[in-house]
Symmetry: C2
Subunit: 347 residues, 2 copies
Amino acid sequence: MTDLGVSTSGARRRPPSQADVAALADVSSQTVSRVANGRANVDQATRERVLSAMRILGYQRNSAARALALGRFHMLGVITFDLSAHGNARTLAAISRAAQAAGYSVNVACAEEQTETAVQQAFSKLSGQAVDGVVVIEAQILDRQGLRLPPGVPVIVADGDPEHRFSSVDNNQAAGAVAATRHLLDLGHRTVWHVAGPQDSYSARRRAAAWHATLKEAGAAVPPLRLGDWTARSGHRIGAELAARDDVTAIFAGNDHMALGIMLALHEAGRRVPEDVSVVGFDDVPEAAYFIPPLTTIRQDFEEIGRQCVSLLLDQIDAGGGVATKLVTVPPLLTVRATTAVAPATG
Amino acid sequence: MTDLGVSTSGARRRPPSQADVAALADVSSQTVSRVANGRANVDQATRERVLSAMRILGYQRNSAARALALGRFHMLGVITFDLSAHGNARTLAAISRAAQAAGYSVNVACAEEQTETAVQQAFSKLSGQAVDGVVVIEAQILDRQGLRLPPGVPVIVADGDPEHRFSSVDNNQAAGAVAATRHLLDLGHRTVWHVAGPQDSYSARRRAAAWHATLKEAGAAVPPLRLGDWTARSGHRIGAELAARDDVTAIFAGNDHMALGIMLALHEAGRRVPEDVSVVGFDDVPEAAYFIPPLTTIRQDFEEIGRQCVSLLLDQIDAGGGVATKLVTVPPLLTVRATTAVAPATG
DNA sequence: ACCGCTCATGTTCGCGCAAACATTCGTCGC
DNA sequence: GCGACGAATGTTTGCGCGAACATGAGCGGT
């Protein structure tokens, strides 16, 4: 009895419109519109007649027509680069959920490369005429002065806007890096080596800076910064070099995957974790608890980041532009597992 | 000289329309439309005048109006569940890229739960009135007979449609599982244990079935199937049980993350990989090569899956429905690393 | 010189929706 | 008892675009 009128016959027909519902329910299409939008000023009996007609025809409102009439799309754009990066994928999922809850849908543009043109293209595809606002996830590229985003489109940047040209939602990268470094120092390590992410990533730079500052403040020597590219592969390469040095007893990796590579290199070089060398990661990917040994790391709350992005963006959209840029910070959490231990006795 | 007319002043104005461009270029708005769509029948001089006017005003066509006029949205919907699953995220990224290349954008709906209602809701949000077609990624839920998708919307299922009610793009799960099992058997193991993914996943079922068949065919004993849930955590739990049994010398895990958990459990129980127990995973996540030891696994080509999904979907859209369902299979690849070795000499 | 053709361009119209305005009631106050 | 009001509903209109059709200019063949 539910989908009576949904003819299943061959040719693709025009889906039912308000007018069709109106005809069936014997009201004007405006009344259908009112019912569809939950307006109060419709008689109960009429409303039910309309609702039933909708059900019979399988009516769904045409979002394009709605967008055209309203000038609002009820759609958010998300620009991202690498969805194989765990954090980005998680953030996207959270954004999608939060947006759905607010009645928005999400249009993803996955830019291949981190070039200005690629971003600008992705952006112009989305912007202005198709979405009400945009979230840019981890846009290392936003650093570059050259990037000019069209004005008038609300933009939120997740984790990547060093100059605060846009509103942004950030992990408190500094706090996380400080916690990691302090944790190792407190364990008695003379100093802490840092294998950082690529320096065109603002997150990576902030983690590195906080690590540097924490060492300085503690009066510890500051070893040279080692630069990876977020991959386990780069961690493995750098880890091999670090493993060769006896004076390395504590390593803070820029993310969990690099930590994994480092641990493999250490293992291959016969240096035990955590007895000889302590390792801390960053992200707390779900598998981190099952590395060998389970990884001490900094947990990021991606769900919260996604929620905040959407909430900030919606505020900005509703305010109709001209809002001061805001910065929301989500605190990370040190999660101690089995890769960190007190410093080995000094030979 | 590029964005002259893009006034940066306060209030949000209506973005420029074809009519505005037409007025500036002193042509009809239809001519602007023709230029915007790259039609041939426009004089070169006129075309340039229009293009320059577009540039000056920063014109972008309104996708809602376009969709309304054309009855086509140039947008694909993607329904997915868990973006923290590596494969899903990768597939989504590939779909997004392929869609963009074809001039489509991608609307993601990330359903929270795998319930029929959740899917149906996500689906109806997207369907009919907002997208031209839908890709469902790994929809374990499609199994259930109860699920009724609205007719008339082209649907492609990535890796999850056991009854072939829709066109789908699949990994050749069977081939992968056979390769994994054979590989272990060839190494001299008497039999192979399988830690499968949850059995409401079609992929998981197919892998398990192929493992079973391969053992049978080889005349090997078929150990009881162990059921995990794709997480490293479940792998760890089951791994602990398996580690306690001396007769377990070869394990085929349903995915790399469970393999990781299994390896940790083995390690904790003092059983060496690969000397005592060989392990094979499935997926080849980027970190698999850096597990301790590096994991032998089955590589899936997510890029290709994404591309195929889009290509199939576009075909179906262009054909206007009424096409026979197709099944495209993407072959996986056995990648041998360090977790597999010849069977230990039998005590 | 005239017909018939092609090509560039203009005009009209409708896609489906909701805002704004118009209309019809019934109801309340004095 | 009559005007003022408000609630339910209908009518008109335009959002921006492109299909379909109309126009008009230029050109070749006979």
